[in-house]
């Protein structure tokens, strides 16, 4: 009986390996066979060059899935319009998006597949994967990379090919303006509620600094395990702190809904800054706590339909709705990388990573993205004098009568200058400005000025 079992075991293993390996072998053969076939040019047009752009997105998140939709849409629409004109060439865009699956090893495999198998030299819109790993692989292979990043490691000078096109370091302008409003309306003390993680601690520290700059007395941070489902203890703790302004921006939309609901349950009254709630989450919030509790609350306004006036971007929003039906705003903010890449390619007339890198390193203007202007800046506080970290333009919305309405824009200027002041980095940046010149904000003016830096 044992012998028969071993035989069956071995047979099963062999069959499994054949089933796994055979399709791969066949695919390799097909790839090898393809170049030997004679090219068949289209009878009526010049063959189009193909520009391959890669992306690693986290499909286990809503944002990651929405990014794939945007990537696919961008390629479809551009190709339908005749291709992407860069310099004297017109390219068919092939936007390849692989899943990072929130797994470092798989994200590495996906990125190496992009570079070695697909031959990609430009990667953008990366989200949900380890930023330092992506930046390192780009560095090793001299591949231009862009995407989201939240920790200082990713903005250090050792990465020459990585550009952070969505990030939070220069994002304190939004919080400053929001907390300043709350202070004007009677808020005096602040606290941050955040999930327990490395980025959560960094983020909470940055928010606290923005609170202090706005004139609030900070009473502390409340961290919770990322897999928490019952937020009653968190709400109870916040109530006992006696704080009247609470920031929830690091909590994530669904968790923020639960936290606010529990804050109401324990009788807490004050001002809060929820996370960026999508339409569904916002509806849930209103249902759970009622309109009255939310009246006058300010939060990030992510929906580009309320912000945008640029006709090109408005057309893109239309294209999304035509393609996918109901507009979902979740991915719009995170695909800023594509607009930076497209802008760089069209301004330089090149797809060469070295040429694009040179342009980006010293870029002086903002780029219009779906959520407004964003601009790259240097990080002299990390010894990085190339422009690799983004100050994103943001909208601030206010909840009135149970509806979130667009209220005002936080400009790149506000984000940049307020962040530097909030982090007490004026001296460090002044030395950089003395050597390289002060940045300009040609796209739009802000509320916070250069004079406010020294007040």
């Amino acid at each position: 009986m044992g012998k028969i079992s071993w035989k069956i075991f071995i047979i099963v293993i062999v069959i499994t390996m054949l089933v796994a390996v055979l399709p791969t072998l066949m695919a390799c053969k097909a790839k090898e066979a393809a170049p030997s076939q004679p090219a068949q040019p289209a009878p009526t047009a010049q063959p189009q060059k193909v520009l391959k752009v890669g992306c690693i997105s986290g499909f286990s998140t809503k944002e990651g899935l929405e990014l794939k939709k945007w990537n696919d849409l961008i390629a479809k629409v551009i190709n339908a319009r005749g291709g992407l004109k860069i310099g004297n060439e017109t390219y068919k865009l092939d936007f390849i998006t692989y899943d990072a699956t929130a797994d470092t090893a798989k994200a590495r495999a996906a990125q190496e597949r992009l570079i070695f198998e697909d031959g990609v030299k430009l990667i953008t819109n990366c989200f949900g994967a380890d930023e330092v790993q992506i930046a390192s692989i780009c560095e090793e292979n001299k591949v231009l990379g862009m995407g989201s990043g939240f920790i200082d490691e990713g903005a250090k000078p050792n990465f020459h090919y990585w550009y952070r096109t969505t990030g939070i370091f220069f994002g304190r302008g939004f919080h400053y303006l929001l907390f300043k409003d709350y202070a004007t309306r009677g808020g005096t003390t602040g606290a941050v509620i955040n999930p327990e993680s490395q980025s959560g601690h960094i983020y909470a520290g940055q928010i606290m600094q923005a609170m202090q700059l706005a004139g609030l007395k900070t009473l502390g941070e409340v961290f919770y395990p990322a897999d928490t489902v019952d937020f009653a203890p968190i709400a109870t703790k916040v109530k006992t702190m006696g704080v009247d302004v609470v920031d929830l921006a690091g909590a994530g939309g669904d968790q923020a809904v639960q936290i606010i609901s529990n804050l109401k349950d324990v009788g807490w009254k004050g001002f809060f800054s929820p996370s960026s709630l999508n339409t569904n989450q916002f509806t849930n919030l209103v249902q759970k706590v009622g309109k009255e509790y939310l009246e006058g609350t300010e939060q990030l306004y992510f929906d580009p339909r309320g912000i945008q006036k640029d006709p090109v971007m408005l057309k893109w929003l239309d294209e999304y709705t035509k393609e996918y039906g109901e507009f979902v705003e979740t991915g719009a903010f995170w695909c800023s990388g594509w607009w930076f890449l497209q802008d760089a390619m069209q301004k330089t007339g090149s797809t060469d990573p070295e040429v694009l890198k040179k342009y980006l390193d010293d870029s002086k203007e903002g780029v219009m993205t779906l959520d407004g202007y964003s601009q790259l800046f240097a990080r002299p506080d990390l010894g990085n004098y190339r422009k690799t970290d983004v100050a994103p333009g943001h909208g601030i919305g206010m909840i009135k009568d149970g509806k979130l309405t667009y209220w005002k824009q936080v400009t790149v200027q506000d984000q940049y200058l307020v962040s530097i002041k909030a982090y007490h980095l004026i001296d460090t940046y002044q030395k950089y400005w003395d050597q390289y010149g002060k940045p300009t904000f040609p796209a739009e003016k802000g509320t916070f000025t250069w004079e406010d830096l020294t007040k």
């Binding site: 409340v222 897999d227 109870t236 669904d254 809904v257 639960q258 009788g267 989450q281 849930n284």
Partner: protein
């Protein structure tokens, strides 16, 4: 600590404890009678929550109907799972059965994701207001959850006194001797599975107006239910109830004073308790394979 804070923490802890008790009781029953380490126990709880959302929000039916649907549906699912999978895996041993429950739990989670998406699903509050007495503010929905859990546990207690319940207890004590006494083991097994998963369905239905339905709620409660089983010991309903409320209250108070280290505080407490009382507060140690 003032009275308002104490009451708030106590209610939070009792509510959590009620849920832990239902899930842990179901787990203990299944482990004791069928000797299956059901890693999908928390997933029945999650599915019960999602079902309640479907019945109340999508179908517009009253909440009590949704609770009943969750109870019956999870019981039926448990039976099907037992008859379709567990029963055939039994001859292959303890660890094989545990593995299939992991696979089943994964299937439930992924199916829920495909059906309901990544967003949390909110069920309207059963009592949509708060109770305020001076400084004290309480959500009456939480009190309803506590009452619901206690009622279900009382019902379970009386069920275990019936002929079927007694047969389940006998099978848990010694399956072979129970068989000699004329107890139909196969029937007892699927009834146990029905009761165990039905308890989780009810727990999910009770909690969803407070917490909302998410795909992580199953694994989250499973860990805590394991702690309750360790603290209470197997084979004792009173032990399970006591342990559940104890763990829930400890977690609630611990978070107030040590923040995100509260789960560590609970593990330390459990480790110390199990060291001195391996059988928990009132029961026996967890049965290991072959015992």
């Amino acid at each position: 600590m003032d009275l308002a804070l104490f009451l708030q923490l106590l209610v939070n802890g009792l509510m959590s404890g009620g849920m832990y008790c239902l899930v842990a009781s179901g787990f203990t029953l299944i482990l004791g009678v069928i000797q299956v380490f059901n890693m999908a126990q928390g997933h029945f709880y999650m599915l019960g929550a999602y079902l309640t959302f479907g019945v109340v929000v999508s179908m517009g039916l009253p909440y009590p109907v949704a609770v009943l649907v969750a109870l019956v549906s999870m019981a039926i699912l448990g039976i099907l799972f037992h008859l379709g999978v567990i029963q055939w895996t039994m001859p292959h041993g303890f660890f094989h059965m545990m593995l299939v429950t992991i696979a089943f739990g994964t299937i439930i989670t992924q199916t829920s994701l495909l059906t309901f998406g990544y967003n949390e699903q909110v069920v309207p509050a059963v009592i949509p207001r708060t109770l305020e007495y001076g400084e004290i503010t309480l959500n009456p929905g939480k009190l309803l959850v506590i009452a619901g859990a206690i009622i279900v546990m009382v019902a379970l207690y009386y069920f275990m006194k019936t002929k079927t319940g007694t047969a389940m207890t006998a099978a848990a004590e010694n399956r072979d001797v129970a068989g000699l006494q004329g107890i139909n083991a196969k029937r007892i097994f699927w009834v146990t599975m029905a009761v165990g998963s039905g308890l989780c369905g009810v727990a999910g239905a009770l909690i969803v107006p407070i917490l909302s339905a998410t795909t992580v709620m199953g694994s989250n409660i499973f860990i805590r239910a394991m702690l309750v089983v360790l603290v209470g010991g197997t084979g004792s309903m009173a032990g399970a109830l006591l342990a559940a409320f104890l763990v829930g209250i400890l977690e609630s108070f611990a978070f107030q004073y040590v923040g995100q280290l509260s789960i560590l505080a609970i593990f330390v407490f459990v480790a110390i308790l199990v060291f001195f009382r391996p059988g928990g507060l009132m029961g026996k140690p967890l049965p290991m394979p072959g015992q």
